[in-house]
């Protein structure tokens, strides 16, 4: 099976500090990768560098063995909710249908019936088709997050990159999002998801990668205490309130 993403020696610097240093990793087609790490550990920078949204150094970034420009239409990105202006005067359907603009400039563009239908289908997938004509400023956090996912899905991507898709989201929306991602992955979409939500992520994904400036771990979703300690720089127990689930294998004190 070929790789959906291949990254070699990726570094990102802010002023003179490394946010990411020499990251080399590859993600197979069909994988469901969760990227975890401490705050400020470079998770978001990794996604943004891969998508060429920030300055970076690297020797190679390939998607499906091709450079980004050639396969742009196969890749979708769900940014952090806080990066998007929620007061902008635009309706839910208009946001989603915007990803149907095909060329680099679209003079006098009129969206076709198919465009509209497939945008509505995308809204259906995240259960907000009833909100299609609502202005985005009137959406709740969970609804807005689902809208961003619908926008990414409207172009039927083969690789989906998500940045904290469940932060600031109500539990119902969180379930809808996780179930949808499961389903998409089963249908063949490669998914890369950044999350601080270590607990939830480990039960959903096929593989995890731990990032804290360096790539500390990349493999199956069972973290050893050693990896966790290295990632957060001090011993940490990964337990959460009311979550009857452990990421860690039993360990001795």
């Amino acid at each position: 099976m070929s790789n959906a993403l291949e990254v070699q020696n990726l570094s990102v610097k802010y002023n003179n500090n490394y946010a990411l240093k020499n990251i080399t990793m590859s993600v197979e087609e069909g994988d469901y990768l969760g990227i975890i790490g401490p705050n400020g550990g470079g998770k978001t920078s990794l996604l943004r560098a891969i998508l060429n949204l920030i300055d970076h150094d690297c020797s190679k970034i390939l998607f499906f063995d091709k450079p980004f420009k050639q396969v742009q239409k196969l890749i979708s990105y769900v940014p952090q909710i806080s990066k998007v202006d929620r007061s902008y005067p635009i309706s839910v359907l208009e946001v989603v249908i915007g990803s149907k603009l095909k060329k680099s400039l679209n003079p006098f563009y009129k969206f076709s019936k198919e465009d509209k239908e497939s945008a509505r289908d995308a809204l259906k997938m995240v259960n907000i088709e009833n909100l299609a004509d609502r202005q985005i400023e009137k959406l709740s956090g969970g609804e807005f997050q689902r809208l961003l996912i619908a926008r990414a899905l409207a172009s039927s991507p083969k690789l989906l990159l998500l940045d904290e898709p469940t932060a600031n989201v109500d539990p119902a929306s969180r379930n809808i999002i996780y179930n949808l991602l499961d389903k998409l992955n089963n249908e063949g979409t490669t998914i890369i998801m950044v999350s601080h939500d270590t607990m939830a992520i480990s039960s959903k994904v096929k593989n995890i990668a731990c990032i804290s400036e360096n790539l500390i771990y990349h493999g199956g979703p069972h973290l050893s205490q050693q990896v966790i300690d290295k990632m957060y720089g001090c011993p940490i127990d990964l337990l959460a309130h009311g979550v009857p689930h452990r990421v860690l294998a039993e360990h001795k004190h």
């Binding site: 742009q72 239409k73 990105y77």
Partner: protein
């Protein structure tokens, strides 16, 4: 009485200038409010003063000077903003006062009596000449053309620049056109309200419209209508009370915003709480 007034050529020009400037303010004002570029608009406007001075010194149309200085400022500020958006206010401040200083310097180099710069600083819509009007019309036409032709692209670009880029839109073209359009707008507005009060004219109608409409297209159209109303009322008041036209238009625009603010149910941006990320 109204009929006699309307027969004056300078009044006809003033009305045409109001219409053109209202169209530009409605469109560009809405955009710069959404993109949070109002301060940048102020910086570009004040830089233009240097161009006006140069025009007088070297004896060419000061508005051409204003246009070239505005373009330089727009591209310069835009470039810095792109690489380090957090500190673009520094570069805006530098352009702002450098432009003013250059204007003063150029004028002081002139021999004989210095020209009256007040109409550029404070605006005088009643002294708009036919040539000014033609320049304004051409620039207004360009603004309308670039906006309407690529309206769908603009809508997405203004909402989420990064997503537009990932989706393959030509964001460089859109970004630089936007900078050019802001520079054009500044030049169009200089004759109406002057450099100093220009920002109010540029953003007050759109800010008022944003309290009334939640759709981008309606917001632009509504801004144009509000802008027209403000300009005509301002002109009328300035005629009645015999005060400077630029000042009366600006004061009236702010007054209208204040009234709509009090009666509207929609909250303005600066009172809307933004959710912080975890």
């Amino acid at each position: 009485m109204l009929k006699t007034i309307l027969n004056y050529h300078f009044i006809q020009n003033a009305i045409m200038a109001s219409i053109l400037s209202s169209i530009v303010c409605g469109i560009i004002g809405t955009i710069i409010i959404e993109k949070k570029l109002i301060l940048m608009g102020g910086g570009i406007a004040h830089t233009a003063y240097g161009g006006v001075g140069l025009g007088y010194l070297l004896n060419f149309n000061p508005l051409i000077g204003a246009l070239s200085f505005s373009l330089i400022a727009a591209l310069g500020i835009g470039k810095v903003r792109k690489s380090n958006s957090k500190h673009s206010d520094i570069i805006i401040a530098l352009f702002w006062s450098l432009g003013m200083a250059l204007g003063i310097l150029f004028i002081s180099f002139m021999k004989g009596y210095p020209p009256d710069m007040n109409s550029y600083l404070f605006g005088n819509i009643l002294s708009v000449s036919d040539t000014d009007l033609i320049n304004m019309a051409v620039l207004t036409f360009l603004v309308i053309l670039i906006l309407t032709v690529f309206f769908q692209d603009w809508k997405i670009y203004l909402f989420d620049e990064e997503m537009a880029k990932i989706n393959g839109l030509n964001t460089n073209f859109l970004e630089y056109s936007l900078l050019l359009l802001i520079a054009f707008s500044v030049v169009i507005l200089i004759r109406v309200s002057g450099i100093i009060m220009l920002i109010t004219l540029l953003c007050a109608p759109s800010a008022t419209a944003s309290l009334l409409s939640e759709k981008l297209k309606f917001r632009m159209i509504l801004s144009i209508i509000i802008g027209l109303f403000n300009s005509f009322m301002g002109l009328f008041i300035s005629y009645k009370l015999d005060i400077a036209s630029g000042a009366s238009i600006v004061i009236f625009s702010v007054l209208v915003y204040g009234i709509i603010f009090l009666v509207s149910k929609r909250k303005p941006y600066y009172l809307t709480k933004t959710e912080t990320q975890n």
